[in-house]
């Protein structure tokens, strides 16, 4: 009887998922409530978790709770430590949740809410979660080895080197693009700039408190830090109204870029306890808190979506980024559905802390589904804005016109009416001088979040506070990605250069630390400044480049996972990772090809360089304009080369993998699995 009731319930959830997805996909004209998206995602993810993840866990991986995990066998109280399932779930989720699933869906809303929503729901369940789960399983069965180590062991020596180089290159692009998101959110905004600037001394205070006054009381100081940061948000409003202070914190894009570059260098070279670690604690708690607050806000307010399901920009003429819905919707969503970077977390700390093999399913698969939810919430927050406002905020001046009048005329002509007075009133409500040309996704996401939060107590009067609170939240954890990423990039570079000259590899040798920090900061800083100078806003160039590189890393991870599945079961279950891999290869290779060779200057880097070259050759430019144009030509050519390098690296690892699979499946090669031998677990639940 209970079994029957269970089956009936799951049948009902499955039917509800299909009905809700069809309802979202087929609806035209009627306004759609955001709860449709939330429920469609919830039902689909529940079905995916209950049936697909369980099938993979039982039939493919044969997860075995009597087998001791690395956390039990290699327990050392530091890295290897059996941890409670839900605590590790939260830990893993906090590690994988970055700015990508917030910014990507916001940008992809340019196509309307439908394509991005469908990809987030289906891509996360069939691709992203499968990748995270399989890599976590592979690492867990290999003593917690990293993706690079597994690539080297399972595919070959070249695999490990390619994985390392790909990660380093992706990090440089990632750091540049997320820093650009912060620059675009803060330029000309004394309120926002003051709030973010205030987080620096607050972090230093937290660091000193932890080191000298109350060692180890991290929760206590994080709470104090949070109160101070909220005070900083209020202080920012006061500063923005102060005739003496406001000009000090009203900074241009270039000035902000330089400030962030200096910050990145300091964070990389200073002792980690002073700035980086306290910011990381604060950012983690704020991130989790705001995500939960947004979820509660959406469920309570149940806002209607103002953006249409599909916009005219599916044809590739969008103002936010150029390119057709295929492949650029998938490249832009990136981390909200499939994230290559997650494979580094799934083969990092988490496999060393799992107490039972069975926990890999909720932690690996379940956490990615939760990340998909975050992406859905970001999509909702972006789509509750009036389309005219959404495009006015996110479109660069080079596309819609530099003045408010020109911008609203262009956007209105697309069928998304908006007026300059409406934009001015909204800017005044949120305490900004202007909301035009704030490309990058962060400001429109903050506006959407503020719109939802301000539906509660306080109403429109607190719109400014919520807007700047959301900006603070986004900038705080984006800058945490920047500072930690710069430091990790420095370690990677030191590791590589240590082979050339030993002292450069020593992390305690200050000249080496300063030199490699400068090199890493210089690399991403170059791309950041390129983005700031770009007349099309920079995001048009850098976000697709980041999306491509991230998805290519996912292709590397899925190649490793497929190799392991082929070694375990032959061809029987390889479709589980091969289908998402094939999709990612088609999407990323098409996108890369178009970004390099498309004849349209807004899409193809080489066409853009050729167009600028023609303009330069035609003459009539001042020496300064000519120098700027030459720099833009070089940048476009450099971007084409970077994109090409990504393609070649991943094609190499893919070809090695395919050759290995063909050898194994035809019986020409006998390859062994590199799993750690079975050891029976001696641990009961009470041992965790």
């Amino acid at each position: 009887m209970r079994k029957m009731a269970g089956r009936a319930l799951w049948a009902l959830i499955s039917i509800a998922a299909a009905f809700l997805l069809a309802g979202i996909a087929l609806n035209r004209g009627e306004p759609v409530n955001s709860m449709w998206l939330v429920l469609a995602a919830a039902c689909t993810y529940l079905v995916g978790y209950r049936f697909y993840a369980r099938f993979i866990a039982a039939k493919v991986m044969a997860l075995n709770d009597t087998r001791a995990t690395p956390a039990e066998r290699l327990r050392n109280g530091h890295d290897f430590e059996p941890t409670h399932k839900w605590i590790l779930f939260g830990h893993h989720f906090a590690a994988i949740a970055g700015p990508g699933p917030l910014v990507g869906p916001t940008l992809a809303a340019q196509f309307g809410y439908l394509p991005g929503t469908l990809w987030i729901i289906l891509g996360a369940a069939l691709g992203g979660a499968v990748q995270d789960f399989t890599i976590l399983f592979c690492s867990m069965r290999r003593d917690g080895k990293s993706l690079g180590q597994m690539a080297r062991e399972e595919i070959g020596k070249a695999g490990g080197l390619i994985a390392l180089l790909t990660v380093l290159l992706i990090m440089i692009i990632l750091l540049a693009v997320v820093a650009l998101v912060v620059v675009n959110a803060l330029k000309g905004s004394p309120w926002g700039t003051f709030t973010i600037a205030a987080t620096m001394p607050i972090a230093v205070f937290m660091g000193l408190y932890l080191r000298y006054w109350r060692p180890g009381r991290v929760l206590e100081i994080s709470l104090i830090g949070f109160v101070l940061v909220v005070a900083g948000v209020f202080g920012g409003q006061w500063v923005s109204h102060s005739p003496a202070l406001a000009p000090l914190f009203t900074m241009s894009g270039m000035a902000l870029a330089i400030a962030i570059i200096i910050y990145g260098f300091c964070a990389s070279a200073l002792p980690v306890w002073l700035l980086l670690a306290p910011r990381d604690y604060l950012s983690t708690f704020v991130k989790l808190g705001v995500v939960m607050l947004l979820a509660v806000g959406i469920v309570l307010v149940r806002p209607e979506l103002a953006l249409p399901p599909l916009t005219r920009f599916v044809d590739g003429t969008g103002p936010i980024f150029a390119g057709k819905i295929f492949p650029f919707c998938f490249i832009t969503i990136a981390c909200g559905a499939v994230s290559g970077f997650h494979s580094l977390i799934s083969s990092g700390t988490t496999p060393k802390m799992i107490s039972r093999e069975g926990h890999a399913m909720p932690i690996g698969y379940g956490s990615m589904l939760l990340e998909g939810f975050v992406a859905i919430m970001a999509m909702i927050a972006a789509c509750v804005l009036q389309p005219g406002v959404f495009f006015a905020v996110n479109s660069p001046g080079g596309i819609v016109g530099a003045t408010p009048e020109a911008a609203v005329a262009t956007i209105t002509s697309w069928g998304f009416p908006v007026t300059a007075a409406e934009m001015a009133s909204l800017a005044q409500d949120v305490g900004e001088q202007t909301l035009f040309q704030r490309t990058g996704g962060a400001p429109s996401l903050a506006l959407g979040m503020a719109h939802i939060f301000a539906s509660g107590p306080g109403g429109r009067a607190v719109l400014g506070f919520w807007y700047h609170f959301a900006i603070m939240f986004e900038a705080l954890f984006i800058l945490t990605v920047v500072d930690a990423g710069t430091r990790v990039g420095r370690f990677m570079l030191q590791d590589l250069l240590g082979h050339v000259w030993k002292p450069l590899g020593r992390v305690s040798w200050m000249p080496g630390v300063l030199l490699t920090s400068a090199a890493v900061v210089g690399a991403w800083g170059y791309f950041l400044i390129q983005g700031v100078r770009d007349p099309l806003g920079g995001i048009n160039t850098l976000w697709p480049l980041f999306g491509i590189s991230n998805q290519l890393l996912a292709a590397v991870a899925l190649s490793v996972a497929t190799t392991v599945l082929v070694k375990m079961h032959g061809a029987r279950y390889m479709w589980i990772t091969c289908v998402p891999l094939a999709w990612l290869v088609v999407v990323t290779f098409t996108a890369s090809w178009q970004k390099i060779f498309s004849p349209l200057p807004r899409v193809g880097f080489l066409a853009q360089a050729a167009q600028l070259q023609s303009a330069l050759a035609a003459g009539g430019m001042s020496p300064a304009q000519a120098a700027e144009t030459r720099a833009l030509i070089f940048n476009a050519q450099l971007d084409a080369v970077v994109c090409g390098v990504f393609l070649v690296l991943v094609a190499a690892i893919l070809l090695s993998s395919i050759s290995l699979w063909a050898g194994i499946l035809s019986g020409r090669r006998v390859e062994k699995l590199h799993e750690a031998p079975f050891v029976a677990s001696r641990m009961g639940e009470e041992g965790i």
């Binding site: 941890t83 605590i87 990660v167 060692p215 991290v218 604690y281 945490t480 990423g485």
Partner: protein, 55 residues
């Protein structure tokens, strides 16, 4: 409800490294002190910030 709160508090302690610090003290038979935290956090942060942060 009690169990949920315990998990939430456990998660906060894990995210803040406070649980790891307690384990460190117990494993090395140490008392909570400035030096103990310094040794623990130096090793912890070095490891933590050698891994890339997710995007």
């Amino acid at each position: 409800m009690k169990r949920l709160l315990r998990v939430i508090f456990g998660l906060l302690k894990e995210l803040s490294d406070e649980s790891a610090y307690r384990r460190h003290l117990a494993a090395h038979n140490l008392r909570d002190s400035r030096e103990a935290w310094r040794d623990f956090s130096n090793a912890r942060f070095q490891k933590k910030f050698s891994n890339p942060k997710c995007c």
